[in-house]
């Protein structure tokens, strides 16, 4: 048995009062792909962070090739051969690809100038090893998601990493791109690397990994080879019990009437900062749940902001219940019955340093009966802890999302738009939010859900559009197979390069 490349010995790590990893032990060997799976909030990313030197363990030891990782810094872990490919890419948008790959380990010539030629040679070799190419002279801001991920991996390889950690690498890839990524990962493992992939997708683990570890609530609950296990066993380990029944989608009311409609809406892009929207049209009738699927970065943010009134449209109309709101600001649109829950709850949803109370009443125009209103919202959605004087920062991600959803849905609405409604949210909170979405539709609101989670959309919606490169390229019933969706996403996707 080869000695493990990485050994985690009863490690624990907490953040404030939240224990993210509890007494976890794990051995990882070279030449194999190790999957780390669990639901949101289980501790996977923290565990990976411990191996990568992002934070030191509060208890226990992290051993790389038998030696403790001390000091626990990313730079030191990198020197010991650990390469971390982050979920949210750690790239400098304003730099070119080659500058990003070089950063932190820059080759210099005799005059102490940056030696771009040497860096390029290193990058070329890494691209050959990986089996993927990317334009090193393009600005990162202009690259697509797949190419950015390639750069992240190149950076890691160029430093000679032999322990490669990938954190949710396929979250932003089409199914085809994901397959290509795993092919490249297999090549790295065959060349002797120890590869760890964090994911919450069972399919990936079963199809591509050699070993699997399941985490639940910070603990390692199961470790075995993939050959020894199957999907139901893994699901039980992830959930801890029978999974709760999925939320019931309300009956399809058909295409009668229009709660929210977009008619030939176009928004100019700014190349790097903003994707353009081209001639987007669709109708959400009252009582219907319509989904928009797509890889992030294909115009979803711009679409949601345009509907909300935060981004002016260049042409076309937005209508709420048949009335045009295109020239109106955010406030008047809300008054006409439209409410939007944005994707980034920390930027566009919450005042983290304000109390839960203040966050729940943000945007309310009346000043009376606020205490009752806050109690009602907290109770309906089961927001914990139950003290409204606490700052919003003290809540978990799931409770924070419940807060913004409660604020949005606790009113008579005609049209609701929710963007990434359960991102980074634990299963219980996700169920509560899905339940609220269905209840809103049953009460007659037209609901638009924009999500990168295809499974969520297929469970909730009556109809799912696909957005790619700022256009709605297809529309399918929810039970359409995933591959069909994947092809549509890729067909107009922002970039066709990189690993994907």
């Amino acid at each position: 048995m080869p000695s493990p490349a990485v050994c985690l010995d009863r490690v624990s790590r907490r953040f404030g009062s939240v224990v993210a990893v509890r007494n976890a032990s794990l051995d990882l060997v070279r030449g194999r792909i190790h999957g780390l799976i669990g639901e949101n909030g289980a501790g996977k990313s923290t565990l990976l962070g411990l191996i990568g030197g992002m934070h030191p363990p509060d208890a226990g030891r992290v051993l790389i090739d038998g030696e403790p990782l001390v000091p626990a810094t990313p730079a030191h872990a990198s020197r010991r051969g650990v390469g971390f490919v982050h979920q949210h890419f750690m790239l400098v948008d304003a730099f070119t690809g080659i500058e990003n790959v070089m950063l932190g380990a820059e080759p210099v010539d005799s005059l102490h100038r940056l030696d771009f030629a040497a860096a390029r040679r290193q990058a070329e070799k890494a691209m050959n090893d990986l089996g993927a190419r990317v334009d090193l002279d393009a600005l990162v801001a202009e690259l697509g998601v797949g190419e950015r991920q390639t750069l992240e991996i190149l950076r890691v390889l160029v430093r000679g990493a032999s322990i490669i950690l990938l954190d949710e690498p396929t979250a932003v890839l089409t199914p085809a791109q994901a397959d290509r990524l795993f092919a490249a990962v297999r090549r790295m493992a065959d060349a002797g690397a120890c590869v760890v992939v964090v994911t919450h997708r069972l399919r990936e683990v079963l199809d591509h990994c050699d070993d699997v570890t399941v985490m639940r609530r910070g603990k390692v609950v199961m470790t075995c080879t993939v050959a020894e296990t199957n999907a139901p066993a893994l699901t039980r380990a992830i959930m801890g019990a029978e999974p709760p029944p999925p939320v019931e989608r309300p009956a399809d009311p058909g295409m009668h009437g229009s709660a929210l409609a977009l008619s030939h809406v176009s928004v100019a892009g700014t190349g790097t900062a903003r994707t353009a929207l081209h001639d987007v049209s669709f109708v959400v009738p009252p009582g219907r749940i319509v989904g928009i699927a797509g890889i992030e970065g294909n115009g979803q943010t711009e679409l949601v902001r345009a509907i909300a009134g935060l981004l002016p449209v260049d042409s076309g109309e937005i209508l709420v219940h048949g009335q045009p709101v295109t020239r109106l600001g955010v406030g008047p649109r809300r008054l006409s019955g439209l409410i939007v829950v944005h994707a980034d709850r920390h930027r566009d949803g919450l005042m983290l340093d304000a109390s839960v109370f203040d966050n729940l009443v943000l945007g309310e125009r009346g000043g009376r009966h606020q205490r009752a209103l806050v109690q009602r919202r907290m109770n309906r959605f089961g927001i914990v802890p139950s003290d409204p004087a606490l700052p919003a920062r003290a809540l978990s991600g799931g409770n924070q999302q419940k807060l913004v959803t409660a604020r949005a849905l606790d009113r008579p609405v005609r049209a609701v738009v929710l963007s990434q409604p359960t991102r980074g949210v634990d299963l219980g909170a996700a169920r509560a939010i899905h339940g609220a979405i269905c209840a809103a539709a049953s009460a007659g609101a037209g609901v638009l859900v924009v999500s990168a989670d295809l499974a969520e959309l297929r469970a909730l919606c009556h109809e799912v559009f696909v957005i790619a490169r700022g256009r709605l390229v297809a529309s399918y019933p929810p039970d359409t197979p995933e591959e069909v969706f994947g092809r549509a996403m890729l067909g107009g996707s922002v970039v066709a390069g990189g690993v994907g």
Partner: protein, 356 residues
């Protein structure tokens, strides 16, 4: 989750640090002028809070600092840095002094005074509205524009004074009629006789309470604070962010316009060039030391007023520059202590976004 005693004490660390730093620096400065440190503290206390006259002087010196502190604080709540208090104060005072001379002498004092105060506030508000509009509509950062407007105000006022307003051979305006002057506190409290303390100080306290009641109890005030906490979230929920920011900075200017009322209307009875210099940065020090709490602001203003008066008591030559150094040290010490002492809840979770 209520705060423990330990957490409360830690939250007060910044003010205590600042006070300690201020006392230390004052000692050092006085020592450099040849005063023994040991004697300094007792002289300081005796000269400031030791007599009613001293107390009166402390209140007099604290008045512009309190107004300035309220002004800086209210802008800061909305995330705006008002460095232009000095210019707004000057503009407000000049306009008040000029308007006072045209107010009919027969008007009863409360009416005349109200008119003059209102004019001062409006003038200061207008001077702050310019950078406010530039920030909200054009995105020009108000730190630079307010500072530039300070210098423009200096130049404009100098031009006006030398060309039109000054009494010949002086750099001051004509005397204001009696019915526009703020009565001294000595009228009611005999102990204050001889000191320059006037109704301006209680007026400042009233403004303090009013502004903070507005911030805490009204929707527009609370929204102003929320805009300072997260303007993006407010915009997404339909809160009029630009409007709230503009209002905060303009209101700040209005309060700043009143800052010299104690000196112009309560003491000298005219406007003189250079009046109130230094109150702008003093207000910043007060606002940071007070940490947004009305009682904190009041105590901070009294602290600096005490230091100014005590400085004089120690050595009549302790120059205004020493006060400037003191204020800078207080701001830095407070900012450092704030960065070190965890705010009550901001460090609680800090977990990576629910993806551990």
């Amino acid at each position: 989750m209520t705060r423990t005693i330990g957490q409360r004490a830690a939250g007060l660390l910044p003010p205590w640090t600042a006070v300690a730093a201020a006392i230390l620096v004052l000692n050092l400065l006085s020592w450099s002028f040849g005063q023994a440190p040991a004697a300094t503290l007792s002289t300081a206390i005796a000269g400031s809070w030791g007599t009613m006259y001293g107390v009166g002087q402390v209140l007099f010196k604290a008045t512009p600092l309190l107004f300035a502190g309220i002004a800086v604080d209210v802008a800061l709540r909305a995330g705006m840095f008002n460095i232009g208090v000095e210019g707004q104060m000057a503009v407000g005072s000049v306009v008040a002094a000029v308007v006072a001379t045209v107010v009919p002498v027969a008007l009863p004092a409360p009416v005349a005074i109200s008119i003059v105060l209102l004019t001062a506030a409006v003038a200061g508000a207008i001077w702050a509205a310019i950078p406010a509009v530039m920030r909200v509509l054009l995105g020009a950062h108000e730190v630079i524009t307010t500072i530039m407007l300070n210098r423009i105000a200096d130049a404009l006022i100098a031009m006006l004074i030398t060309s039109a307003l000054a009494l010949p051979g002086t750099v001051r305006t004509a005397d204001m009629p009696a019915n526009t002057l703020l009565p001294r506190l000595q009228v009611w409290i005999h102990g204050f006789v001889g000191s320059a303390a006037s109704v301006a100080f209680p007026l400042a306290v009233v403004v303090l309470v009013t502004v903070h009641a507005w911030l805490k109890l009204t929707r527009s005030g609370r929204e102003t604070v929320w805009v300072g906490l997260n303007a993006d979230a407010c915009a997404a929920e339909g809160v009029p962010v630009g409007w709230r920011r503009w209002m905060a900075l303009t209101l700040s200017g209005a309060v700043a316009g009143l800052a010299a009322s104690g000196t112009v209307m309560g003491y000298k009875g005219y406007y003189e060039m250079g009046l109130g210099a230094g109150a702008g940065f003093g207000g910043i020090a007060v606002a940071f030391l007070g940490r947004g709490h009305p009682v904190g602001l009041l105590l901070a203003a009294l602290l600096f007023g005490t230091l100014a008066q005590a400085g004089l008591a120690i050595n009549a030559q302790v120059p205004r520059e020493a006060m400037g150094v003191l204020e800078a040290v207080v701001i830095i010490a407070t900012a450092l202590a704030t960065a070190w002492s965890p705010a009550p809840a901001s460090r609680t979770t800090g977990a990576p976004e629910a993806e551990p």
